[in-house]
């Protein structure tokens, strides 16, 4: 170790050790009790990127920069099965399973930890017509704000800095009725009809190109 050049350490994130120490219900055939077992404490980074910037190849969106209230709501929704229970929607299913056993205190810890993550600028992956996108965005601005800053009171998250490929997929999920249909998903049920104003994939691409431009 001494032969390689180890440089100074800089602490950007707090340890989230112990987050996944929740016990697993005893099972008939697999007597599993993971209480106090040394489970991996870096589960999030495997899917969401080494620094929370997201990973399109495994479908994990960026977490860095998410508003704490929104992050908490989504963790709770996944835990309750309001999100992520769609059949054959694998990234959502994976997320649902990952958080199903989190306690309230663990969600508190996670939200606090991720709130401290430094935002890494995302690559833009979508091409489209900026002008058309700007026109279409007028409809979005009502909830998400003119500059994509979000609106907690309406349950509308900020859009700046989110992965465009992730937003594309979510809009498609809303449009096709996979998201925003659960009776307890108040904000999602508002979002679903709004997405119908985007008539085609091209419309979705165009509006995302405009949202990307808010990044600058």
């Amino acid at each position: 170790m001494q032969k390689t050049r180890l440089l100074a350490a800089l602490t950007l994130t707090a340890s989230i050790a112990g987050l996944f120490s929740a016990s697993v219900a005893a099972q008939q055939y697999a007597a599993v009790d993971t209480t106090n077992q040394p489970l991996s404490n870096e589960v999030c980074a495997t899917c969401h990127g080494g620094a929370g910037q997201g990973n399109p190849v495994v479908g994990g969106p960026s977490l860095a920069g998410l508003e704490p209230w929104y992050l908490r709501k989504q963790l709770e929704n996944f835990r309750a099965g309001i999100r992520g229970s769609e059949k054959d929607y694998i990234p959502g299913n994976e997320m649902q399973a990952s958080v199903a056993r989190l306690s309230d205190a663990e969600i508190d810890d996670l939200v606090e930890t991720i709130a401290g993550w430094k935002v890494i600028e995302n690559d833009h992956t979508i091409e489209g017509d900026l002008g058309n996108g700007q026109a279409l965005y007028a409809n979005c601005a009502a909830c998400h704000g003119a500059d994509g800053e979000g609106n907690e009171a309406l349950g509308a998250p900020g859009l700046v800095g989110r992965n465009d490929w992730y937003m594309f997929r979510q809009i498609k999920l809303f449009k096709s009725g996979y998201r925003g249909v659960h009776p307890d998903d108040t904000a999602g049920r508002l979002m679903r009809p709004s997405t119908q104003s985007l008539k085609s994939d091209q419309d979705v691409n165009d509006v995302l190109v405009y949202i990307n431009s808010l990044d600058r």
Partner: protein
Amino acid sequence: MKKFVSRREILGLIAKAGASGAVLQASNALGIVPDSYVDIPKIPPVDSGNRPSVVVLGAGVGGLTAALELKKAGYSVVVLEAAGRAGGRNMTVRHGDLIDEVGNPQICDFDDEPHMYFNAGPARIPSSHRNVLHYCKELGVELEFFINENKETYIQDDAMLDGKPIKNREFTTNARGFMAEIMAKNFTNAELDQPFDEWEIEALMRSLRRMGDLDEDMIYRGSTRGGYSHGGFLEHGHAHETIALRDLLKSALFSEALSQNEGETGPMLFQPVGGMDQIIKGYLRKLPDEVFYNVMVTSVMLQNEGIEVVYEHKGIKYKIEADYCFNSIPTHLMTGIDNNFSADYKEAMAYPRRGEAYKSAFQAKERFWEKDDIFGGISWTNQPIEQIWYPPHGMYKEKGIILAAYNYGGGMHFTQLTQEERIETAIRQGEKVHPNYRGLVEKGITIAWHRMNHMLGCSARWQKSRRGFTQEEERLFQTLRQPAGNRHYTIGDQMTKHTAWQESAILSAHWAINDMLARKSGSTMPGQRV
């Protein structure tokens, strides 16, 4: 109306499906049984005052091979591993071990005995995998024979014989008998485009008769090769009732049964005594201070001279600089790690699909298979569990670990179930092969490679089509194989044309080291070596 198939068409079909010798030859040409060779990189020893530094990402077979060979030549080596254990997909599960599936962590509760283990990843070493065998020898890993092919095992198909399992020997004896009869009926001089002489015809007929156990009239009327229903030693043996070809054809396993155990899963096969991870332990004995665990890489940056890797350990970030990086992190996870690679390189990194594979295992309360003449090998079923493996080791001990499901190609069926559903499904499906299965097995474990932490996939899938690499896929593969900035090598079985094997991971590491050496030695020439 049934489609009429002419005799010549049948002959063509049989020639395609049955001529295993020819198939094997063709497979060689197509790279299905790839040629492997032992060509350990000859790394010139380095001056102790000026040792090049290498950071290896990932302590699987590929990473450990690179680390070992470079260390032997005097390089300064550090291996960073995200998990709390080395091995990657080389994973043997024993009493107390963590199966770190995202969202479904399990602690294995098998009895704590040396033979009570489960090879959750690679589980057999083909005798043609010379490099794996080379390292087993070098690292002092004791090997024993692994039994893959065993005709005492079962074939079960819901569509055949009302789902009743039958012994593989019954199935294959009958299948081969009928096929030999059909071939014999068709092989007459007049009907073939390419006439054989009488000697050749006779030789062919003789071998067909032997192959299918046909009678003098070249008719298949059953065979004792499928085993006796009773007698055979003190009394005359009575063959099992012949199973009609029509019944056999109802099973999709018909084509499988005659083609299994060819190529890389044919004899001879080996396994390390005490679990596949004995290989990893062998590597680690030679790398006692080099491997660091629970280390998550957060960025990999090429620099003018060297490469910088930032990683996080227990919430603290560190930065490490080295001359070279050998990176075996799965490409689909590397796309989520900050880097400054070229757009082409990133595009190639994002291309391979993450493989789906699923295995599960039970502890058996007794070695019930041994009472059924089974001492290893695989039973096949048309159900999603597909296979049941019986351990070739631990013979006559009280208990054993059996593989309860193995789906290599499309493991998502099980992956999407809860742990309880996975276990119950494995029991219910296993009951169709072994009727009293439920009472005989316990302490099930499941390994859904698509969700294993720090891996999120089994072997990389480069090809979208079974027909082979497209030109575009070849371009992407070659792009990713070239070192980024002459310093960063993507390695592992993912960087071969034959993913999923340990042999591939080793050969990839060797290739990268040899490429590095060639570039170094060529550095006095203007331009770059191509």
